[in-house]
Symmetry: D2
Subunit: 292 residues, 4 copies
């Protein structure tokens, strides 16, 4: 994590991603694009975060702005990480652990960012691989978590789990969450997991509905690798950030290690913001939330 400094580069090329299904996202994108074009004196483009064409232009940018909730931020993180382009979030979801700016504050925040008065918070990601026998069927970068677990049928699967090649245990559970510190306030939190501040580099393991099997979270040492072998007679699934879903066969193997990529979030708040706002975020009521 680079510490706060006003000496950050001032972004010149900026792309604004709106979410087509979030109310107000497109309208705000238009306002922000106009503002940025005036400030920067050059063209600024907006695009849907689901537009594959726009995604090919990420590498050319100095800054990506995402208008949405935590879900949009996850997607923004996965898209930008390989190109090392920083992401600034404006929160249009009700929940928002990840965006930096509340919607009413976007102009104040952007003004500081354009002046180079910001810092970059690097967030650890995971490299997730799906193997069947000797074959690698897929690889995924995640910012929150990988979940290996049951599909639609409400029955546990068996998950033989190894850490650094050594047997840990066989979970009998709805699933196993393999999370980053960023993910510790997402799905892992909902099953009772501990909170890890963003600067940690440790993987968090915690089961969903463990049935008379290991029911404690485990925080792994830095650099640890996790392997999970699925044993099931019914549908099993690998989920990446709750956004990509892959069907698993009995005997499939999922391996997880720290990614070479990181997500770069643009921050203007003090670096202590995480602890300072934690209780507020934990006690928000998501019942009416519409974030994506």
């Amino acid at each position: 994590m680079r510490l706060p400094s006003s000496s950050q580069p001032s972004p010149e090329h900026v792309l604004v991603f709106y979410h087509p299904q979030i109310e107000g996202s497109l309208a705000l994108a238009e306002v922000i694009v106009t503002f940025l074009a005036q400030q920067l004196g050059n063209d600024v483009v907006k695009a849907s975060i689901e537009d594959p064409q726009a995604q090919t232009h990420i590498a050319e940018q100095d800054l990506i702005i995402v208008l949405g909730g935590d879900g949009s931020m996850l997607r923004g993180g996965r898209l930008t990480a390989p190109h090392q382009v920083p992401v600034l979030g404006v929160n249009l979801g009700r929940l928002g652990f990840l965006p930096e700016a509340q919607p009413e504050a976007w102009q104040a925040v952007l003004t500081r960012v354009l002046a180079g008065d910001y810092w970059i918070e690097e967030r650890m990601m995971l490299q997730v691989e799906h193997q069947r026998g000797e074959e690698r069927l897929g690889a995924y970068q995640v910012l929150n978590e990988a979940v290996v677990g049951r599909g639609a049928l409400a029955r546990p699967v068996r998950l033989k789990t190894m850490i650094d090649g050594s047997d840990l245990t066989t979970y009998v559970a709805d699933g196993l969450i393999i999370a980053t510190p960023t993910g510790s306030t997402a799905y892992a939190l909902a099953v009772g997991g501990p909170i890890l501040p963003p600067q940690l580099k440790n993987i968090l393991l915690i089961a969903i509905a463990p049935h008379l099997s290991m029911d404690r979270a485990i925080v792994l040492a830095q650099g640890a690798t996790v392997e999970v072998v699925v044993r099931t007679e019914h549908q099993a699934i690998l989920s990446a950030d709750g956004q990509v879903e892959v069907l698993l066969d009995d005997g499939d193997r999922v391996s997880v290690r720290v990614s070479d990529y990181v997500t770069r979030f643009v921050r203007v708040q003090e670096p202590t913001y995480f602890y300072a706002s934690l209780m507020t975020r934990l006690t928000q009521n998501p019942s009416a939330d519409k974030s994506k």
Copy 2:
């Protein structure tokens, strides 16, 4: 719950259900059928618990014997409850909260049962109804639990929940478990729920992976009713005892109340068996379990 007594009727007509996918289940059924035919002096039939034809003969029996694990017992309970026929379980699963006899003890237990030296433990069941608008799409009897929750996609659903017609809360969760006391040692246990001994008549509510929403179990007063309205943009499912799965649409309603039926388990152990064996059952390791 009728208390122990040697004055129970001696069963004359007995049907033995084996589970075709449990190793040793058919072989044991044959041995038991031979034993019973000798003891009773009449024909005793065995059948697969999955055989619909055999299921039509349940009402004619004095006793159903089930050779399997907790899953088989659940199925046996649902099949027999409408006919008020008692069920005796011989445990062929590794886990076994419900069967009365361990496999090596089947003869001793059956000898007592044939002599009328047993008691009947009545287990509360739930009546679960699935409604879409004004239409009732289905009704189910469950012995463990109904689960209203997400399908394969690892994302929470919103579950607006009412008790006796009064709003409780909107869960944002993988699902909501609505369990009997019998179910308190099944799925509900895996998500941290309390244990309710079999003689209770209370419904237990507990969420699976509640996301910043109600995360405590609630034990309802006797006679209470529960209504759940599903709000989701992705697949949602109603699961009955983990054995029947029904797709739910956004806006579908699931209502749950105590059933008019009960499952009748044949017991020869002391009525205090539940507490006495609880710790042993809770610390068994299911990792290698094959029960169905």
Copy 3:
């Protein structure tokens, strides 16, 4: 629980208990006494809830008003239960699961109560006995919970626990909470226990910091009795409603059963109030609370 009705008797003799250490409690008592004297046309007395002399006049009253928080309500409950005098609480604590009226609403609530437009909610209590060998050293009535546990030294004690005379388990823990449904939203809630609505008659058992021993709550059948034998080399304590503390010796026995007494709370809200206000009460922030 008697259901709502406007046919309740109109109270004539009323005693108002204030809490001398709660700010505003005495001042409000004076205002309420003046109001009641006008309405009733007779003398109404106020007294400190800690005044033993005033406590001797409880049996003569038709209604006791308590101005304080949950702690004051617990004390009011224990004082009034043997005399079957109902208690109306006006909440001067920040937390308040038990009082009926918020401070700004006292007059509206009292006006309804004086008109007989209220109902009585009966709350189960526990009879707790402390025995050493054959000797009964003390007996206590509690409305929330009895706790058998460690004293000041932060080390577990061993608690051999029996239900209805049958061994359950030996807890190795900071303590065991034996709670009423009323107590399910107090100490038991803080250690992860389930919520039981007030009309239940079941005892709730849950350990504090169980060390590799039984870590699930258990809801007992109605009429069940609990016995706990303490094994410790250091200080152990029996706590009654967090207000009475008794030193225990190694080998001492604490037995708990449903009391013959109940606390009678005066209610003007709908009987569904418990579920309707549960989420609000659970998400209040007690950090700045001053209730007693």
Copy 4:
């Protein structure tokens, strides 16, 4: 953590600590002393771990052997850490997360250690300071945890907590556990905390019985400091490893940071032993345990 190697120095000066209250500890000490004297060709001394005179000779040793359970190991760790003398534990308690050798294996283990065929596992410790106003009243080194919490009275205290000088929250709880990774399998485990393998350098925060306040464990970044200010009207206590207890006044401050000392445990098992034996250790039954 130094990795396994046969090139460790062979210890020449060894002190054997027995625990006077653990059965068999003194007798085993005598056998081990005789064995070591033969092997080393010099005098080997045994002493009670409670003997202050013997403690002054720790600095002269190459190896300390402790015959006891986890409690004895904690004491051994605190005694030896300032002198950087490694500790080998022979387990005489039933629980034993910390000792290396089971009692029947002591000779095989010692033979390897004398041959230099072992490795040193360094365990993070905490430096705990107790301050009143400007005055430092005491400082403690702990290997498991510091606990700031209530005394004998079963009522919560308020614990205003800061991380790196930034407000986190005010816990309302029986206490706050501030644990090392070693302590994650001790008291913190009993209140639902995550497991941290020994090589981590992170502080773990978790509350005991949090009452409607922060109920999640937090794993701090390396190098973080914790400050707790106690707010209570009744007895409060600082406990160091469950072995030292200090009375706290309202307003007292406890600050915790990673210690400059580490405990050095002698290991002959593979470095993967922690995960490999975790499930076994977590499912042992401590009910009859006598470890000290």
